[in-house]
Each structure stands twice: as C-alpha cells, then as structure tokens.
C-alpha cells in the first residue's frame, strides 16, 4: 500500500511537471524570425543562425527567438499565407530593398519605437537609414550594405597589355567612355581579333569586355544621373520618368555595347554563358563585371585567374553613381508582440552582434564604427583586393535607389524589364523609342494605382 502511494505521488509529480513546464517556458515571449525571402537559407548559414538563436535565448529572460528558415522558392507564398492566416512572423529578413518594396503593404513603421526611447541611430551610415525610409514608413534598422564596383580579370588585362583601371576615387579619367574603349580591346573573336579591328567577327565572340548581367533595368540605368536616379517616377510617384534624357543615354550605351561595339553580351549570348553554370566573371569569358559585395560570398571560388577591383566609373555628366543594395529586418504590421520584435531587431543590429550577423549574410555592417573590424575580416579572405574601393563606394550610392518602392512595384519593374528585353533581343535597339513606349505603359500603371487609391 505504502509502495503504491509513493508510486502514485511520483506519477502525480511527473504529470504536474509536464503540465507546468510548458507554461513556465511560455513566460518568454516568442519572436519568430522568418528567413527565406533573401539570403540565409544555405546550410552553413542555417547553422550559424542556430548559434545566434542559442546565444540570444541564453542571454534573455523574457524573449525567445526562433529562426524559421523557408526555402527561397517557396518563401514568398509561405509568408503571404502566414500574413493572410493572421499568423504573421514577428520579424522578416534579411530583406533587400526590392523585397521590402515588393511586400510594401505588409510592414509596420518602426518610427514610434525609435521615438519612444530616443534610440540613437547616429552610428548607422546616414544613407543607409534613408534607403528603407519612405513618407510615413520606416521599415527597419539598417543591417548591412552591399556597395557596387567593377571586378575584372587581371589575366585578360595582362594578355591584352592594358593598364588596370584606377582605384583612386579622385581619378576622373575612369569614366564610361574609357570603360567602353578598353572593353572593346578586351572583346575577342575566336581568331583573337578584338572588337576595334575590321577583321573582328561579331558572330563568333569568345570573350566579352564588360557585363552587368545580374541586375534589372532600373539597376542598369541608375548610374547615368537622371533627376530621379534609380526611380522611374517623379518624387510624388504620380508621373512616369523612364524616358529621361539620362536613362535614354544609358540604355543606348548598353544597346550600342551589344549591337554596335559588341563588348556586352546580348541576351542570347548571356544565356550561353549562364548555361555553363558559372557566375559571369567566374565563367572566364568576361573581362569586367559590375557587381556588388554579395558576389564576393557567392562566387570567386578557386578561379584560375586573378581578380582586380575598380570603382564605378564616372558617367557622361561627370558624376559617379555606384548603386547599392541593403538589407534589414522588418516587422509585419499585423504581427503580434511587436515591442519584443523591436527589441530583437535592436539586438541583431547592435554594435556587439552586427559583425557576426553580417558575416552570416555577407553584407557590410551598416554601422560606421564597425567598418575597420569588417575590413580586417574581408582582407583576410581577399588579401589582394583593395577593400577601400568597397567602402568608399557607399559615398556614391544611388538615391532614390534602383530597388526602391514605387506604386505597383512588380508591374512597373516587369514593364521596364520588357523594355530592356527589346534591347537584349535586338527587337528594337533604339533606346529613345523603347523608353518612350515604356513610359506610356508606366504612366498607365501609375494612373490605375492612384485611381484605385482614390475610389
């Protein structure tokens, strides 16, 4: 009988613990961090995020974080399902500027949190604070930046006996005319004739001088100094401005580069390069590739040639515009526990943690005070690259940014990419008529948007 009593008591204690333990655990407010719209889904990134999660949870009594990693291909529909099902994650990220624009209606404004505690944002690059700030909406604290530059194949320059591009940001000789000139010399047919020679066979090109293939139309055209820079609309978003003189100049520069001077791969030639499975510069058939810092993490592995780095060239108006990408974490506007989400956002972007977070996602920390730490880490991996070129590029970023929100963002971008396709396929190589046509389509999309807002 006595033994049975002890057994009964033991069972009761175990059952009580089982019932109470989860309740105790639930004292911590859970913040789910949705990862998958951008970077963060590679196996090694998952491991590092789990380590970050363990570190946060061990050091916080009232908040518990959990990274929800969703494969990139299904992340968009999964997030929409969660938002529609009133089951929004507390944080989403890391998001690029384009991702934020794409889901623009979904985000909470963090301005009240900043103002409520007088949060100090002075250590962040000022420009990075503006990249995701819109009228009445600040989507999140800056996490990291991805400045842009030209990477080049040193062996090709050596073989052609051409001087390397300068790394000095004050050297005004490095402009798009100069880039075109050397790119043509670096463009070769199978008989090693370059694109300046009469014997050059444009049907049989085996090496191209320049490529900016991994961007969209707004990215291609942001560098030419248009009043709206990378945005195809006026500041009030009501008037389309895709056929500005600067954008027409820029698109014609690309069109001539493909169809007249042949130093840029056409759409069909680009498709052939991509079929090799290699990234543009890594393919070994591109001499200069315009790209961002994320390329340093995604490519440049075991190359049989040396790689150099140069700043974005000056444009036809004597300006230097180096387009930029940026990441942050955002709080969905219908998420619960937004105050706790804000606390986690601050932790992720804090001076103590931001270098680690950026090493996971491959970005430059958005805090100025961390530049030296991160430069040291970069120099360790790429000892031959002049990392000053990367950091200085931040001063020349495109604002308004080429990925920034515009009304009906997806439709506008698709219409502009259609315009670039006309050039890439050779269907219409006249930039003025292509962008005039695009502008009409954009204006219609904008008018529809504003009409739907007022009805």
């Amino acid at each position: 009988m006595k033994r049975n009593s002890w057994l009964l008591i033991t069972c009761l204690v175990i059952v009580s613990l089982l019932v109470v333990a989860p309740a105790l655990a639930q004292d911590k407010v859970k913040v789910t961090i949705f990862v998958g719209l951008g970077t963060g889904t590679d196996p090694d990134q998952i491991t590092k995020q789990e380590e970050l999660q363990a570190r946060f949870n061990a050091s916080h009594d009232s908040i518990e974080i959990e990274f929800l990693i969703v494969p990139h291909d299904e992340a968009g529909t999964r997030l929409l399902a969660m938002l529609a099902g009133d089951n929004a994650p507390q944080l989403v990220g890391p998001n690029g500027i384009s991702t934020i624009a794409e889901y623009f209606d979904s985000w909470a404004d963090i301005t009240p949190f900043i103002e409520a505690e007088g949060f100090d944002t002075s250590d962040f690059y000022q420009e990075s604070l503006e990249l995701n700030a819109y009228p009445n909406l600040n989507t999140g604290l800056p996490l990291g930046l991805f400045p842009s530059f030209v990477l080049y194949n040193i062996d090709m320059f050596d073989a052609a006996g051409i001087d390397y591009p300068p790394t000095d940001y004050n050297d005004t000789s490095w402009n798009y005319d100069k880039l075109r000139e050397i790119a043509m010399l670096l463009t070769l047919d199978s008989n090693a004739n370059d694109a300046t020679m009469e014997e050059f066979d444009a049907e049989d090109i085996v090496q191209w001088g320049f490529s900016d293939a991994w961007t969209d139309t707004r990215g291609m055209l942001a560098r030419w100094g248009a009043p709206d820079v990378g945005r195809p609309t006026s500041a009030d978003y009501k008037t389309a401005s895709a056929n500005s003189a600067e954008w027409v100049y820029g698109l014609q520069w690309f069109s001539d580069g493909m169809w007249v001077d042949h130093f840029i791969p056409t759409g069909e030639q680009q498709s052939g390069i991509e079929a090799t499975g290699a990234a543009p510069l890594d393919s070994g058939v591109i001499a200069m590739f315009y790209t961002h810092t994320w390329y340093l993490g995604e490519a440049l592995f075991d190359l049989p040639f040396e790689v150099g780095i140069a700043p974005a060239p000056f444009n036809q108006n004597g300006q230097r515009i180096a387009r930029i990408h940026a990441d942050n974490f955002t709080i969905p506007k219908n998420a619960t526990n937004q105050q706790e989400a804000w606390e986690v956002m601050k932790w992720l972007t804090s001076e103590e943690n931001l270098v680690d977070v950026c090493l996971i996602y491959g970005c430059i920390p958005a805090r100025m005070s961390l530049a030296d730490d991160f430069a040291a880490a970069l120099n360790e991996r790429f000892p031959d690259l002049d990392t000053n070129v990367i950091f200085e590029a931040i001063d020349y970023l495109d604002a308004p940014n080429h990925e920034s929100w515009v009304p009906n963002w997806g439709r506008i971008n698709d219409a502009l990419n259609f315009a670039a396709s006309l050039i890439n396929t050779g269907e219409n190589t006249d930039a003025q008529s292509v962008l005039d046509q695009a502008n009409v389509e954009l204006q219609k999309i904008l008018d529809e948007y504003w009409a739907s807002q007022s009805s």
Partner: protein, 308 residues
C-alpha cells in the same frame, strides 16, 4: 435515438453509400468548393492579402478587358493550344498504332516511349532549357551538323512557343498508352469482316479503327484541352531560366502565368480571382462545345442512333 433497423433497405443502402463517400464530399466542400466560392467573392473585391478585401463590384472584370496583358496571355495560350493539342493527339495516336504492331521487342519500345511521360516537372524542363540553349545546346549543334543555323529557341520570341510545344510532346507517352489500350480493345471480327468485304489496310483504318477509337480521341481531347489551359510549370521554369518569366518579350506569358503574377508577384488577389473565373468560363464553354460536337463524330458501339 436513431433507429436504423426500422429503415427500409433502400434507405439503409443510401445511408451507407453517403457514409462511404462522405470523406470525399467533406474534402470537396472544405478544400475545393470553399476556396472556389471564396475566390468568387474576392473577384469582386480589391484584395492584397494583408488588408481587408474592399468591394469594387465588377471592377476587376471590366479592368480585365482593358488590360493588354490579359489579351496577350490569352493569345499566347490559344497559340500554344492550336499547336500543342493537335500535334500531341496525332503523334500519340500514330505512336500507339506503331506500337500496336507485331514487331520484335514491342514491350521494350512501349516502355521506352512511355518513360518520358513519367519523367516530367522542373528537372526535365531545366534539361530542355539546356538542350535548347542557342549557343551550347544539343539541338542547335545537331542542326548545325546538317547545315542549319538553329534559332534562338527560348531566347527568341518567335521560337519560344514552338520550343515549348516540342517540350510538351516529350510527354505524349501518357496519351499513347490510353490509345494503345483502346486499339487493343477493337474487336478482331470487325477487321475480319472488313477484309471479307475487300477493305485494304487504309480502308480498315478509315472505317474500323478510327470510328472505334473516337471515344478515346474524345477523352484525350477533353483532357488535353483542360491541360492546355492549365499550362504553367514548364513556361514558368523555362522562361525564368532564360532570364524573364513570361519572356522573351512576353511571348510565353501564358494565361496561368499572368494569373500567378497577379496573385503572388503583384499581390492583386481579387484581380487574379477574376482571371481564374474567366478562365473557368472559357474552359467550360470550350468543353461544352466539344461535348456538343461529339454527337457528330464520336461513335459508341452500344449507342442506339435515330429510330432504326
């Protein structure tokens, strides 16, 4: 309390029947009919998923008819249907006839021709993208061997749909098997009678095989029609792989692709729902036309025609 014993036999049988099909009925109501009705409601709303739907009446439907991309997507789908549907039906029928002959290794041949229809989806589409690559693809390299400069295929707005049609023919084995089953069920005595009447092989095909196969043709036509208007994955993957979903130059902007873009890329769920219902109406109409026409060309052996 329910006293089932007092029920009549037919009532008890009916109850048992309903009980057995109830899992399907419940599933249908919750997972198909419910979402269908919801999409019908959304089609009259402006709805971006995040905010509450806002009633706009017929706004989405009237906007559709003024949207040039809606007409472009319809044109692309019809162009594809006109090429892919007849070629798929004819090729699979011809293959079935060939593989219905008494030839050595016929089982191996049937397996080989059926196999591709099992291997479909994203992986095979990506394989075709490589085959069709204008610079390095095997298709153009073979054409070059016989002195033909191959087109840009998926990179060329004029050749992208023919390329997708060729990709679609990769899966004709599915229809071929159905035709084969139909061919083997044609009674041998009909051929014997035709031979007695002096019919050659062509006449036998014209007057025996073809009429007896019309129900199978009809079945494959209806399914093919619906399948053609549901075409999505291959176009999405193939055009995306060459740089622009629905491209180049919107030449592969299929109806379902544009619907998907509206729903998930532009987050205009109401507009996408209206597109879905218009598609439903189009497919229903075409299917009804095919059904109505079937009395003119489909022969059912057991069917009594006219007064005779």
């Amino acid at each position: 309390m329910l006293n089932i014993r007092s029920w009549s036999l037919s009532r008890r049988e009916a109850a048992a029947g309903y009980l057995f099909i109830s899992p399907w009925i419940i599933g249908f109501i919750l997972l198909t009919l419910g979402p269908m009705l919801a999409s019908l409601y959304f089609s009259f709303n402006q709805y971006n998923i995040v905010d509450m739907p806002r009633w706009i009446g017929l706004g989405n439907y009237t906007r559709l008819f003024n949207d040039p991309l809606f007409w472009q997507s319809l044109k692309v789908t019809l162009y594809f249907a006109v090429l892919a549907l007849p070629s798929g039906l004819i090729l699979s029928f011809l293959l079935a006839i060939l593989l219905n002959q008494n030839i050595p290794g016929v089982r191996l041949w049937r397996t080989l021709y059926f196999l591709p229809s099992v291997l479909t989806g994203v992986a095979v589409t990506l394989l075709w993208v490589l085959l069709f690559n204008p610079q390095m693809g095997a298709v153009n390299q073979v054409l070059e061997l016989i002195g033909i400069k191959g087109p840009g295929w998926l990179n060329d707005p004029d050749w992208s749909i023919p390329a997708l049609v060729i990709m679609a023919l990769w899966g004709v084995g599915q229809n071929m098997i159905i035709y084969l089953a139909g061919l083997q069920s044609v009674p041998a005595e009909l051929y014997d009678a035709a031979k007695v009447d002096g019919a050659g092989r062509v006449m036998q095909f014209r007057h025996v095989t073809l009429p007896m196969m019309t129900p199978v043709l009809f079945y494959n036509l209806v399914l093919g029609l619906i399948g053609t208007f549901s075409y999505f994955t291959q176009a999405y993957v193939a055009s995306g792989a060459v740089g622009e979903v629905g491209g180049p130059l919107r030449s592969t902007l299929f109806y379902n692709l544009y619907l998907y873009q509206n729903a998930f890329d532009y987050r205009e769920m109401g507009y996408a729902s209206a597109m879905a219902w218009v598609l439903f109406a189009i497919v229903l109409l075409l299917t009804l036309v095919v059904f109505r026409s079937s009395s003119l060309w489909v022969y059912y052996e057991g069917e009594l025609r006219g007064k005779g």
